[in-house]
């Protein structure tokens, strides 16, 4: 905030060079000469000619990196450490070839054969889908080829640009992500190096510490540390030999024989015999692997600790005793003390479940294969393939349909709340309005009431036998009750409108706080310059708000993508759309991805594999939006600025 005000004082806001998204930037429109059509055509051919020429010249001129970039997209970027770009290129190439070979090419060919296409349309009708879906998919495939050519061009041109930069001796531009990845790789390299270096350089104590954890500490008199190390090692070895190894070994196919019935010759009956349990194998297998990783970390600590002691002895310094360790816990290593409990919580209840669920996406874990009576096993990418398989499965269609509505909903919900909330705050804060505090409290009170009460009440208000319908009938507007939640358009409009009712007070609160901080002199000078209130709003208030609340807008957008409460409590009972019926259960037209995920997990099919696929897809959607959002942000504020 302070940062912004300083900027404002300097007049930077008015010169919008620094913040691109504020909307105040006036693009300087170059004066164009009117070209005749012939000239335009000529120019176009010239450009195409240049493109073709550059295609060959770059291949000849370019380095080996550039030459390889013709085949492997982004290779030139990857080698020179532009990892984010390279990953984008590679992912695009992989997905493109995968899709085109798998189904896109056939679809493109189908465009030439209309008869087959119409047959396809007939087939699609069986699935009750929009009959143009197949046609659209064919056109999409063609467009994808065009996009691929553009990306291909960018791949080798980008690599060639890097070549030029290298030749001129300039730096290759790298993003924060690239730097992070490079640092990470360097750190791993250093670790591996130090592993050998310490073994060679270290004393006999250190060498023995590689086998007996904490040996170096024990010999040097750090009894407490040594005891912890040894206790860990002993319990780890005990666990791994007795249980862990068995679990890890079974991970390869998640169990051979489930619980089954076996003939018992003594009693002459079949008795139930406990077999493998895939769920337990996956659970304990992953936990054991995590434990092994922890063990490697402790191992590293063991020989590094001993090596440090070696160094201290060499320099003739004192070796820290238990008392010093205790002091460290509250002083120089206080961060570890504070982070221990949260870190354990996050690892066990967020990281581990996410790893587990990602793995589930590659199995056939569902109600029929619950791991106990029916074992489940690895199925590779089959669950993801189902998304692309439009012929026998409805999943891809349902996903795209629900995703589109989710995005539309997120845009509508976020921006309607944002602007209306800001408007309300402006009205309340207007000069000359009395009882400001009363107005504000009135709206704040609506935040305090738990959402589920107001949402459930609203949902029942608009129900078929709810008050609104009764009143409309009583006053003669309707003859029969109108089911708002069964009608796609009505229910979609209703959720957006009711969301405004729920969310605007919250934004009013935020906007009020920020609006009061806008320096009054900005407005005064604007008024002297003759700006009317609307202009003041567009040039001062809005840019300021967007600048300050950029991160909030992004988080609330993502929050709305995952806005379970509003959708489920309002329209949880909405009628299912038969087009969206999948193996996981049904969904309605108002459902977001998150409520769909909920319904699949709660559904009678217990289609967990599908649920985890959807969960991963939500993650991908959210992360793509976050990356785009962060790059759109007017300023990536430096956190050190405040301190």
């Amino acid at each position: 905030m302070r940062f912004f005000i300083e900027k404002a004082r300097k007049g930077d806001i008015m010169k919008p060079k620094t913040n691109k998204t504020t909307g105040t930037k006036k693009k300087s429109v170059p004066v164009r000469k009117r070209k005749s059509f012939a000239e335009g055509v000529k120019g176009f051919f010239k450009a195409v000619g240049n493109e073709i020429k550059s295609f060959f010249t770059i291949f000849v001129d370019g380095s080996w990196r550039t030459k390889l970039s013709y085949v492997i997209f982004g290779f030139g970027n990857l080698v020179l450490g532009q990892i984010a770009r390279a990953l984008f290129f590679l992912a695009f190439e992989a997905l493109f070839f995968f899709y085109t070979i798998k189904s896109g090419w056939a679809r493109i060919l189908k465009l030439g054969n209309l008869k087959e296409l119409t047959e396809q349309v007939e087939f699609v009708r069986l699935f009750n889908k929009d009959i143009h879906v197949e046609l659209l998919l064919s056109i999409f495939s063609v467009l994808l080829v065009v996009v691929c050519i553009v990306v291909w061009r960018n791949s080798f041109h980008g690599s060639y640009r890097n070549d030029k930069l290298l030749k001129e001796g300039r730096k290759i531009p790298r993003s924060a992500f690239d730097k992070g990845v490079i640092n990470f790789i360097k750190a791993v390299g250093n670790e591996i190096k130090s592993f050998f270096v310490i073994f060679v350089k270290g004393s006999w104590r250190t060498k023995l510490s590689y086998v007996i954890f904490g040996f170096g500490n024990l010999v040097c008199g750090q009894i407490a540390r040594a005891a912890l190390f040894l206790a860990f090692e002993a319990s780890f070895i005990y666990y791994i030999i007795n249980f862990g190894l068995a679990w890890i070994l079974k991970l390869d196919n998640l169990g051979d024989i489930g619980s089954h019935e076996e003939y018992d010759p003594i009693f002459d009956t079949y008795v139930r015999v406990n077999g493998d349990n895939s769920f337990k194998i996956l659970l304990y297998g992953v936990l054991s692997v995590l434990l092994c990783i922890v063990c490697i970390v402790v191992w590293r600590m063991s020989f590094h600790g001993s090596y440090e002691n070696d160094k201290l002895l060499e320099e003739g310094k004192k070796i820290p005793k238990f008392k010093d360790d205790l002091h460290d816990i509250v002083d120089s290593k206080f961060h570890r003390t504070l982070l221990t409990v949260p870190a354990i919580g996050i690892t066990m209840f967020t990281v581990f479940p996410i790893i587990f669920m990602i793995l589930v996406a590659f199995t056939n874990y569902d109600g029929a294969h619950d791991g106990y009576s029916g074992l489940f096993t690895w199925t590779g990418w089959a669950n993801f393939m189902e998304l692309f398989n439009t012929k026998t499965s409805n999943l891809g269609y349902a996903f795209v349909h629900i995703l589109l509505w989710t995005l539309v909903w997120a845009v509508l919900a976020t921006f309607s709340n944002y602007f209306l909330g800001m408007l309300l705050a402006l009205l309340i804060n207007k000069k000359g309005i009395k009882l400001k505090k009363m107005w504000r409290s009135l709206f704040v009170m609506t935040i305090a009431v738990p959402q589920f009460i107001s949402l459930l009440y609203m949902s029942k208000l608009f129900a078929k036998n709810g008050l609104i319908n009764m009143l409309l009938i009583k006053w003669g507007f309707l003859e029969f009750p109108f089911d708002f939640w069964a009608n796609t358009t009505a229910s979609r409009i209703l959720v957006v409108v009711i969301n405004i009712w729920v969310g605007v007070p919250y934004l009013m609160l935020i906007a009020t706080g920020i609006l009061m901080n806008i320096p009054e002199d900005l407005y005064e000078s604007a008024r002297i310059d003759g700006a009317n209130p609307f202009q003041q709003y567009m040039k001062i208030t809005l840019p300021y708000m967007l600048f300050i609340t950029g991160p909030y807008l992004l988080t609330s957008f993502i929050g709305n993508i995952n806005n379970f409460n509003v959708i489920y409590l309002l329209a949880g009972g909405a009628e299912a759309n038969s087009n969206l019926l999948t193996s996981g259960g049904s969904a309605s037209d108002v459902d977001l991805l998150i409520t769909w995920l909920f319904k699949i997990s709660m559904g009678t099919e217990s289609n967990y594999k599908l649920a985890s696929v959807i969960g991963i897809l939500i993650f991908m959607v959210v992360s793509v939006i976050s990356v785009i959002g962060f790059n759109l942000m007017p300023s990536n504020k430096n956190e050190e600025d405040y301190q």
């Binding site: 504070l338 919580g345 704040v444 738990p450 009460i453 029942k460 129900a463 920020i514 909030y552």
Partner: protein, 306 residues
């Protein structure tokens, strides 16, 4: 001539100011009208819930906004006074469940968030940036994704269904440190020079945390307590999934939704739901209004610093 000119000007100026004033008055009147209309729209549903809760003539939705017959029947029914089916509404149980969850969560979550945010704000250590980015990426996974396995694990520990309260407390609080952003933003604004001065005087980092920073962080502690308290009051998704339709383990949100989910339930319990809503909203609203200052500070601070 030359003498008259300034007089003329001042008259004009006055006229202009007067017209400006009337203009402002008119716009103010319009703004007042808009504000009154808007606040009526916002408040009406809540008034209707309250009116509905006193309705004596029927338990189903009727076309009367103002009840024809005021009575406390609905409130009594929540505590099974004067009801035939005793085990349908377990409002007291639900209320206690929610209250326990809220209080325990408020304390544990505040502890977690303070630890995480203070460390990330104040201390520079290896892997700090990595930790922050890692949590950012983790936060992009839908929270519900991990519920499938957590439910299985919790059922192994006998913490779902009737005992869902304890399972839910673990689920709500275990990863709550990931919501450190608002609190970290607050700590970032406390000048570092204070810490350094104390450190020069020989204070350990722990002393700095407990003696200097925490007393100054009262607003953010109250904000975290308040939001953590209100979380379980309103949570529906996790509670519904973990509770497995066992009425004894429900919180108020799931219990009340369950009550009016079917059309028969709606006919039998609609007014009971409204009465319950009033009882649920009252303590939270009072708490909220008392601590509103801290909430507003936290919310605006959070929005500003992301």
């Amino acid at each position: 001539m030359s003498k008259e000119k300034p007089k003329n000007l001042s008259i004009k100026k006055e006229a202009k100011q007067r017209s400006l004033k009337t203009h402002q008055k008119v716009t103010n009147v319009i703004v007042y009208i808009i504000l009154v209309i808007v606040s009526i729209i916002w408040i009406t549903p809540f008034v209707m819930i309250v009116l509905e809760s006193f309705k004596g003539e029927a338990t189903c939705p009727t076309d009367a906004i103002i009840p024809r017959q005021f009575s406390l029947k609905n409130y009594k029914a929540l505590f099974n006074i004067g009801v035939e089916k005793k085990d349908e509404i377990k409002f007291f149980r639900w209320y206690m469940n929610t209250l326990i969850m809220s209080c325990v969560c408020a304390i544990i979550q505040t502890f977690m968030v303070l630890c995480m945010s203070y460390t990330l704000s104040r201390m520079r250590f290896k892997g700090r940036k990595f930790l922050m980015n890692f949590m950012l990426v983790l936060g992009m996974f839908p929270g519900f994704l991990s519920m499938i396995i957590l439910k299985k694990v919790m059922s192994g520990w006998n913490m779902i269904g009737e005992n869902a309260v304890w399972g839910l407390i673990i689920i709500y609080t275990a990863s709550s440190a990931m919501g450190y952003y608002v609190s970290k933003g607050f700590f970032d604004t406390i000048p570092k020079s204070l810490d350094e001065a104390a450190r020069v005087d020989g204070a350990t980092r722990a002393t700095v945390f407990f003696r200097i920073t925490l007393p100054m962080a009262k607003p953010i502690v109250i904000y975290t307590l308040l939001t953590a308290f209100m979380g379980p009051w309103g949570d529906f998704m996790f509670a519904k999934y973990i509770v497995n339709n066992a009425t004894d383990g429900m919180n108020v949100a799931v219990g009340l939704q369950n009550l009016i989910a079917t059309s028969e339930g709606l006919a039998a319990h609609y007014t009971h739901f409204c009465a319950a809503g009033v009882l649920v909203a009252i303590p939270v609203t009072i708490l909220f209004m008392c601590l509103q200052r801290y909430y507003v500070e936290g919310v605006t601070g959070g929005a500003v610093k992301g």
